[in-house]
């Protein structure tokens, strides 16, 4: 019997663990990564000759509920045609009962892995702005994500941003919908799927902190608004996503989620509030801190109404304009104006200095 080195055992283990997609049009090439719910593989679509990412759930779908949930996710994503939302190509079930879906292959890394790579605050805010805009697009179509976190955001090599994992997204009822929202027919169809699957009945807090797992849990405490963590599902709307966006911004500013892995609901029991970002790093602009804290307000009515509003404030900050979340004093206004118009100010100063030099030269 041939002796196997530790590396050989590991390679055999990986081979044996690759899912068997026999019977589908996909051939698995190798593993890309794994999360709480499933594992993502690089696969070849043999019909179209293109590479795709295939996500395979870690558990067999004995009741068929997971398959219907993933089908629902695929249909929601299909309705959200946006450059920052990854399209799902296909949903299927393996011979062993595990559900998989094939989606566009996204190159790049997760947002949480970008920290410490030398990106400036402004780079991070540009990325965050794109996340907000993708979520704003979904909000405008009457869909909320419900599991926004850095791990669900991919950043491509050219700065493209993709919001992933719409598996627990919720379609808002017609009364809450906006003008551009999906049609009544589509909404009632998706609502019917939602009522039939796990989402309506499952607990909204997961057993293991830090990640969504097992298909029996919805959301991640560290980035979850208090109303979601405490199971008040009737209160969930765009402001719930806004809270999670604020928590993502907090993470980008401080490298930590606002309440650690416990989440807002647990922290709320002991009346604990997150440390303000500027207490951790004084270099964080006050306006950015204010955007973050407003989005994460404990009272829903104190938050931005939707992702478009928070995106608007971020854009205003990046453009050197005042943000709605922060009232500046006169010095701050002047400082921002000077900063925004630095080039013109320098030009005028140079002109004045030249005039002075000329004046004194001629006077002599």
């Amino acid at each position: 019997m041939r002796w196997l080195s530790d590396n050989a055992v590991d390679r055999l283990r990986q081979e044996a663990d690759l899912p068997d997609l026999g019977g589908s049009k996909y051939l698995v090439l190798h593993k890309l990564g794994s999360g709480g719910m499933g594992t993502v593989y690089l696969a070849q679509d043999v019909d179209l000759g293109r590479k795709v990412a295939v996500k395979v759930m870690n558990i067999a779908d004995q009741s068929g509920a997971l398959a219907s949930r993933m089908m629902r996710e695929a249909r929601i994503v299909a309705l959200l045609e946006h450059p920052s939302i990854v399209p799902i190509h296909d949903v299927g079930t393996l011979e062993d009962g595990r559900v998989f879906y094939a989606m566009k292959l996204v190159q790049g890394g997760r947002l949480d892995q970008r920290l410490g790579d030398g990106s400036s605050l402004y780079d991070m805010l540009r990325i965050f702005q794109k996340v907000c805009e993708a979520v704003a697009f979904a909000h405008a179509r009457g869909v909320i994500h419900r599991d926004l976190k850095p791990e669900n955001v991919m950043v491509g090599p050219f700065g493209e941003v993709l919001v992933m994992d719409w598996g627990v997204a919720k379609v808002l009822s017609a009364g809450d919908a906006k003008e551009e929202s999906i049609s009544d027919g589509e909404r009632s169809e998706l609502k019917a799927l939602e009522d039939a699957d796990l989402i309506a009945t499952l607990p909204l807090v997961q057993a293991q902190p830090g990640d969504t797992s097992g298909g029996t849990v919805i959301g991640t405490p560290a980035y979850m608004p208090p109303e979601q963590a405490s199971g008040q599902t009737e209160l969930l709307d765009e402001r719930s996503d806004v809270f999670s966006l604020g928590a993502i911004l907090y993470f980008l500013l401080t490298s930590d989620p606002p309440y650690g892995s416990r989440g807002a609901a647990e922290a709320g029991k002991s009346a604990e509030h997150p440390v303000h970002p500027r207490q951790i790093d004084r270099k964080i602009p006050k306006a950015v801190e204010a955007i973050c804290l407003k989005a994460m307000s404990e009272r829903r009515q104190d938050r931005y109404a939707n992702a478009a509003e928070i995106a608007g404030d971020v854009v205003r900050f990046l453009d050197g304009n005042p943000v709605s979340a922060y009232r500046e004093n006169v010095f701050e206004k002047a400082g921002r104006w000077l900063n925004k118009n630095r080039f013109i100010v320098l030009l005028i100063l140079a002109y004045l200095i030249m005039r002075l030099i000329v004046f004194f030269s001629v006077g002599r």
């Binding site: 019997m1 002796w3 055992v9 390679r11 283990r13 081979e15 004995q62 011979e95």
Partner: protein, 243 residues
């Protein structure tokens, strides 16, 4: 659609080890010894710090006593994994042998099983010794190595008898032949070497992988007592998160 991720294809050797049928029992012990003798031998050498000759005798004696007294029948799957049970039995056995200091009377000189102890010694010489505080993990790792080695042997036999030598050679080149730490050869490189199209390489490897996985799971099925233990071991061995 299958309801179970892990197909049930073979009977458990642990269950069969307590069968009233002598032939079935012998076959079951053969399966268990083939999977466990190497981890047992290495464990005795390292944890109990026994010289090679003593470890050989103790390994032989342990399995001889297990067969004679049928103590695998005492295994209760609700309390522990079989692997843990076996290791506990082994520790008890070696401790007793130490106390009695009567190894030769146990019949230690009589070789009852044909086991490649020299091969095991060679492996111990090549591999780095485990840290003193990770002997249990070492036993588990050796057990995994043993399961994969047996599965690979079975896989080779099946592929050859099915006339799928190309599948087998491709699989071995892709997975095993790369030096430790070196990247696996690409599908394109394999296609050139084997004078196949890349699509054929992809298909052949997919088939080989499927067969190998089936054989690993069959082997695990043999080496576990209950469906629950089988699932847990499969998840632990194949790296899938437990439900």
């Amino acid at each position: 659609m299958g309801e179970d991720r892990f197909p049930v294809t073979r009977l458990s050797a642990i269950v069969a080890a307590s069968s009233s049928n002598q032939e079935e029992r012998s076959r079951a012990f053969e399966v268990l010894v083939s999977a466990y003798w190497m981890p047992v031998y290495k464990y005795v050498r390292i944890k109990w710090n026994k010289p090679s000759e003593d470890a050989r005798d103790l390994t032989q004696g342990f399995f001889a006593q297990a067969i004679e007294k049928n103590f695998f029948a005492r295994f209760d799957p609700s309390k522990a994994k079989f692997r843990t049970f076996l290791r506990t039995c082994l520790d008890g056995f070696v401790a007793n042998e130490n106390k009695a200091a009567a190894r030769k009377k146990r019949g230690g000189d009589a070789t009852i099983l044909s086991l490649d102890f020299d091969g095991a010694e060679e492996q111990l010489r090549i591999a780095a010794p485990p840290a003193p505080d990770s002997i249990d993990e070492y036993f588990d790792r050796e057990w995994a190595r043993s399961v994969f080695s047996l599965a690979l042997e079975g896989f080779r036999g099946e592929m050859i008898s099915a006339g799928k030598e190309t599948h087998l050679r491709l699989f071995e080149r892709h997975v095993l032949d790369a030096e430790d730490g070196a990247p696996k050869p690409s599908y394109k490189a394999l296609a050139t070497d084997f004078k196949l199209s890349t699509t054929d390489v992809t298909n052949y490897l997919a088939t080989a992988r499927r067969e190998f996985r089936r054989i690993v799971l069959e082997k695990l099925r043999e080496l576990t007592a209950t469906d629950d233990e089988f699932r847990r071991e499969a998840r632990a061995l194949l790296g899938v998160d437990p439900q």
